[in-house]
């Protein structure tokens, strides 16, 4: 339940609190819209999730699920216009960023939380050396001198295991390989030792062997700095490797949340099940993939009732009429399964049908 309780649902006192007695990041009932020529696109429709210090939350979803837009809203880098936050709260250590002053938001977002993007080449400035870009963080936020900033930059590059950092600090981004560039992005995010890192598809553009290196690095650093990590991805494999908890998004909503092993073993939402069944697996060669039929919805015309019902094998009449809230998921004997919730009217059936995984 604590995972994504609806706003009015009672929230048990948070257990793993930050120093100030509040969660590191607590997104509540967030709504984001895009006004376009073709109508209003509701990209995020009441998303709630939270992350504690030292924890990895994976936000899993396909394109158009709203996973990146939510993150952009949290980081305050939403393109607006056309994007607009139309409701909800984004609490960082208890402080609602949407109601904080501009200056306060800027301080928090620069130093306390940082973001890593998918495409490192287009996120780095091509005409500045990586040393300048890394050092800039210290010059702007900490008032360091040029020389001190450069020394810090070398230190950071060492920390993300870039070989021969001293020699390479004056190189430009294009002189680095894809994996090394992603390390520089990570170094930049780490520069001011933030409490929270949001990584948006950090390894999607990388090859498998390099992806393994980068994910390893992220996991080590998270532990070393006791940071909270929000990992946004579409890759079920990466999630299984590194996440503590998972939030599955679809059409701008959270469909299911669960601790990682439970989600894979016994999904409580037909969409999660569909995703798990539709990926070919290296360790199993079965005949025929069970594809999810149909296509993700057009966000200008989100289906009534449950967003997933046109593609759902379990859909019944009630699914068209009524949008399911995020139900608390319990075991057969009615004991609540901590951290589990599902936005499906028939989560009980789904849970009961779970095959041995």
């Amino acid at each position: 339940m604590p995972a994504t309780g609806t706003r009015d649902g009672e929230r048990p006192a948070p257990e793993r609190d930050g120093p100030s007695g509040a969660r590191l990041l607590d997104v509540r009932d967030l709504h984001v819209e895009f006004r376009t020529r073709d109508g209003t696109v509701s990209a995020v429709n009441g998303v709630s999730y939270h992350v504690d210090a030292g924890e990895t939350l994976a936000v899993l979803g396909e394109s158009g699920s709203g996973k990146s837009v939510t993150a952009q809203a949290v980081m305050g880098i939403l393109d607006s216009p056309p994007g607009r936050i139309t409701g909800g709260e984004i609490r960082f250590r208890g402080r609602d960023l949407l109601r904080a002053s501009r200056e306060e938001r800027r301080r928090i977002r620069g130093a306390r939380m940082a973001m890593i993007f998918q495409d490192a080449l287009s996120s780095l400035n091509p005409v500045l050396t990586v040393g300048d870009q890394l050092g800039e963080m210290f010059q702007v936020h900490r008032g360091a001198s040029r020389r001190a900033a450069k020394a810090k930059a070398v230190e950071l590059m060492d920390r993300v295991r870039i070989p021969a950092a001293k020699q390479r600090v004056n190189d430009y981004p294009h002189q680095f390989s894809g994996g090394m560039r992603q390390r520089i992005m990570i170094a930049m995010a780490l520069a001011l030792e933030p409490d929270l890192i949001i990584a948006d598809e950090p390894t999607t553009a990388l090859d498998v062997t390099v992806q393994a290196q980068v994910m390893d690095l992220l996991a080590d650093l998270r532990q070393e700095y006791a940071m909270g990590l929000v990992l946004i991805t579409h890759d079920l494999g990466v999630v299984a490797d590194v996440a503590d908890r998972i939030a599955v998004m679809y059409a701008g909503r959270i469909m299911e949340t669960a601790p990682v092993d439970q989600l894979y073993r016994r999904p409580a939402h037909p969409y999660t099940r569909g995703l798990l069944d539709s990926v070919p697996r290296l360790d199993r060669k079965g005949r025929g993939l069970r594809a999810v039929r149909g296509l993700p919805p057009d966000l200008r015309r989100v289906p009534p009732g449950c967003e997933f019902h046109p593609r759902c094998p379990r859909a019944r009449e009630v699914c068209v009429r009524r949008r399911p809230p995020l139900y608390e998921v319990t075991g057969e004997d009615g004991t609540p399964l901590p951290g589990r919730a599902s936005a499906c009217h028939f989560w009980k059936d789904e849970l009961a049908d779970a095959p041995a995984r």
């Binding site: 062997t209 393994a212 073993r265 539709s278 290296l282 060669k285 594809a291």
Partner: protein, 385 residues
């Protein structure tokens, strides 16, 4: 090495049946593609070459699927282009039904091309946005008027739309009115139009969402069974390749480093690169987190303009020794496995090929390849040699 999917040893245990196999559809020998690097504008000098594909050989039988896996820059897309004659090879031959197509031109080339079609990676840029779906799928008939009589073409296009699971009523729509998965179906319909025997698919599902990916893979499998198509399926996603392929070739820096049936490659890999690649793939099963032994490779793929001498993988290999820098390992059944049974005894281009208990190994520590510069090979690993 050209048996169809079969876990059992071949019925007639012939010595490596390289030449003279019962009529392979495609027979590729020593394929090589170099892209020259030049300097200067007026006085152009050749300063070297990018060795994109270097002596690649394989065969493809009727109805068979060969999967080619490798990381970006390994030359797998260049192989695709060479197969469909979008590029001419620097050396080597591509025989289709015994005829070398690399030397063909004009009418003869056109005739062969009907039978070897391609599906591209990006369904957003590989369809002309100004043409209707009907025109896109029907265009092959304009180029090969013999394939369908003029009056019959619209009907054929509708039929093709139906075959790939699209509503035939969509014939007058434009590509932008379709989603990525639907566009890829259009690309597949276009490739099917001329009833080819071979389809070369270059990363056909990597631009698609997970839930849609499975739909397209299932479609390709169904079409293969229905029309007896042979595929060369090129992808970086090892799980997808395993799912669809009968045989698999692992590519690194322009060369095939290991080939075999899907079982041979995925259950009994003997080349260190294949082993590292497989161990790096995240498995969607959190329970496997602790059980898995990961081989983390150090560094990046070297530049194909200046590949390492000898074995091209040696700069990242934990087993590399002096011999690896001197002698190019041949793609053949390694000496150590000659005379052994089929699953382990398959072609692997490594001087120190050995099997690894990859599947459910006893908990061991992560093995880290030594960080080596491009010049110095690392010493033997914990169990090297």
């Amino acid at each position: 090495m050209h048996q169809p999917v079969d876990a059992e040893p071949p019925p007639e245990p012939e010595p490596p049946p390289r030449p003279g196999r019962p009529e392979p559809l495609l027979e590729v020998r020593g394929l090589q593609k170099l892209y020259p690097l030049t300097r200067g504008v007026v006085l152009r000098r050749r300063t070297g070459a990018v060795r994109a594909v270097d002596t690649v050989s394989f065969g493809l039988g009727r109805g068979e699927t060969l999967g080619v896996v490798g990381e970006s820059g390994c030359g797998k897309s260049t192989v695709a282009k060479l197969l469909v004659h979008l590029e001419r090879p620097t050396a080597g031959t591509v025989r289709y039904r015994g005829e070398d197509i690399t030397r063909l031109s004009g009418r003869a080339l056109k005739a062969v091309r009907r039978n070897i079609q391609m599906v591209f990676q990006d369904p957003y840029t590989s369809l002309n946005p100004r043409m209707t779906v009907g025109d896109i799928i029907g265009e092959p008939f304009e180029i090969h008027p013999g394939a369908a009589p003029r009056g019959d073409r619209r009907r054929r296009v509708r039929e093709l739309l139906d075959v790939v699971g699209l509503n035939p009523e969509y014939i007058n729509r434009y590509p932008h009115q379709f989603s990525g998965g639907q566009r890829q179906r259009i690309g597949i319909a276009r490739a099917l139009a001329l009833n080819p025997e071979v389809i070369v698919a270059d990363e056909p599902v990597s631009a698609l969402d997970v839930s849609v990916q499975a739909q397209v893979i299932n479609l390709m499998e169904r079409l293969r069974d229905e029309f007896g198509l042979a595929y060369v399926f090129i992808a970086h996603d090892l799980s997808v390749v395993r799912h669809i392929s009968d045989r698999v070739a692992v590519m690194y820096l322009g060369r095939f480093v290991e080939t075999g049936t899907d079982e041979e490659i995925y259950e009994h890999p003997t080349h260190p690169y294949t082993q590292a690649l497989l161990s790096a793939v995240p498995v969607p099963d959190p329970g496997a987190r602790e059980r898995r032994e990961r081989i983390l490779l150090a560094g990046d793929v070297p530049s194909p303009a200046d590949p390492p001498s000898g074995c091209r993988f040696r700069t990242r290999c934990w087993k590399a020794e002096a011999v690896c820098a001197e002698k190019v390992p041949e793609l053949a059944v390694p000496v150590a496995f000659r005379g052994r049974d089929r699953p382990v005894a398959h072609p692997s281009a490594c001087h120190f090929a050995e099997t690894l208990p990859l599947d459910r190994p006893a908990p061991r520590h992560v093995r880290q390849a030594p960080a080596t510069g491009p010049s110095g090979p690392g010493g033997p690993g914990p169990d090297g040699g």
